[in-house]
Symmetry: C2
Subunit: 326 residues, 2 copies
Amino acid sequence: MECVIGIDLGGTAIKLAQFAQDGSLLNSLEVPTPQPATPKAVIKAIAEAVRQLDPQGRAIAIGIGTPGPVDASGRIARVAINLAGWENVPLADELEGRLKRPVVLANDANCAGLGEAWMGAGRRFRNFLLVTLGTGVGGAVILDGNLFVGPRGTGGELGLITLDPKGHPCNSGNDGSLEQHVSVQAIRRRTGLEPHELAANARSGDPEAIAFWTTYGQELGAGLASLIYVLTPEAIAIGGGISASADLFFPALMAELERRVLPSSREGLEILVAELGNQAGCVGAARLAWNRVRGADLSDRSADNAPTPAATLDTETIVPGDRWSD
Amino acid sequence: MECVIGIDLGGTAIKLAQFAQDGSLLNSLEVPTPQPATPKAVIKAIAEAVRQLDPQGRAIAIGIGTPGPVDASGRIARVAINLAGWENVPLADELEGRLKRPVVLANDANCAGLGEAWMGAGRRFRNFLLVTLGTGVGGAVILDGNLFVGPRGTGGELGLITLDPKGHPCNSGNDGSLEQHVSVQAIRRRTGLEPHELAANARSGDPEAIAFWTTYGQELGAGLASLIYVLTPEAIAIGGGISASADLFFPALMAELERRVLPSSREGLEILVAELGNQAGCVGAARLAWNRVRGADLSDRSADNAPTPAATLDTETIVPGDRWSD
């Protein structure tokens, strides 16, 4: 059976998984990221792991999600967060030379969005956003069935949109960005607690923690309102670790969107929880590889009756999607 | 010569112009909008004006920019601001029945963006935004050479993005939207003066007026930063009446973008002043008509050597574009 390999390159682990064109997971492998994670060491580790996962060389293409911006053609990792000395690394060329198959790169958040669009929360939609609420806030934009990366390859930096121009400093320079309000780091800074502690407190009835999640949902809603007015997606999936608390902030989030967004911009909009968890990156990287060899439109995806990898990969669906009826 | 008609339907006037496929203006006509501007009266007035402009029926298609959202297929004016009793008016069908030619609709701000992309400030770019600073704030998104309207037809509501969630109430529901900071109405509300008065004061050295335009540029920059992070356009053109003061707020705007937006999201980005003034709507409506009969990609536009209608239509170029060199 024809297959591809999707790779999620992170600061501590390199995850690989082999997928058929219908999205079936064939096998997977996780190896530690070499330390220090220099380009040379990482390239060697990826090549060895690919040979270990696929000793017969069956995979016809390889997609890789990297932790930072890549160039518009998906060849060069421009920067890689938590890796050592990465600047404009020609990762695709280097690995194609070693593995003799097409290799294509994308930003890891974009890969996660592509994964959710293919096999997860976005599979029913041609216009879809993923917003990941983790240590930072990232995202991906699917427009008319294709991953949007824009002319510089860096489109869809959804966590860096402006929320309060006079807000907390942001490394990006965009002080008061959405990320400075709703990321794990922002939660720690503002409350001194971890998101899971605030969730436990809210679930045991602590009024302060309940109020925290209400404010959290409102701030997230004020940020998503911008994205909805510009992109008018059919659905937005919320991913990342904080999505485990979706039941606590979704009511305030939905009320805020209903208040802030004109019905003409949100008719039928669904707000969902992402389905593929931390496997979304591998799934999306595999889809990236299929796109490279078979064309980029997602319209061939198998929709609701697809064999969902969620059952075999380590994921969970937390709350059902909500939907406006107007 | 084959030609089309572009129509800009406004609350006080209906402007029509006939264009060849290379963008040459053939002739134009302006008639008053009937009062009250009921659907029936407006449809009759448009049909009569088309027959007056083009008595021999040479135009092979007609595009119309309407003052409000249209449906995704460009057939129905869902709402029309400053017209009487417009709700889901099947304007395209009604006029096709009378004029026996294809008719297609778009929101007037989207038409203006399409016009600038075809024959104005955006003609060198495949990824381009128009932001119009007028009584309200509108805009248009050109992605990969095509007008983006999204699955509901209402995409690219650039004036309604969030700037300060706790800011001034907005009719849209999105309190503190960009429009509530940088529109003519917002300027009046905040200063008691008209934009042209503030411009005159600043040009005669009034420190308060100079400070106003600095703050104005900073707020606009904080809003545009969101759009740049999401869409990473190659260029943004600033249109609308306030763009006449671009020289007063561009320095603060550019500094704010340089501070807030990561270089990887803005390399080569150009910030320009729109070129077609209040004729952009007619030009874009004509392009919409060409798209209807010839396909939607703008890549056939004649680029820099095109006969620019700016010379014959009532427009002006105010300041040259600025550009980052990184």
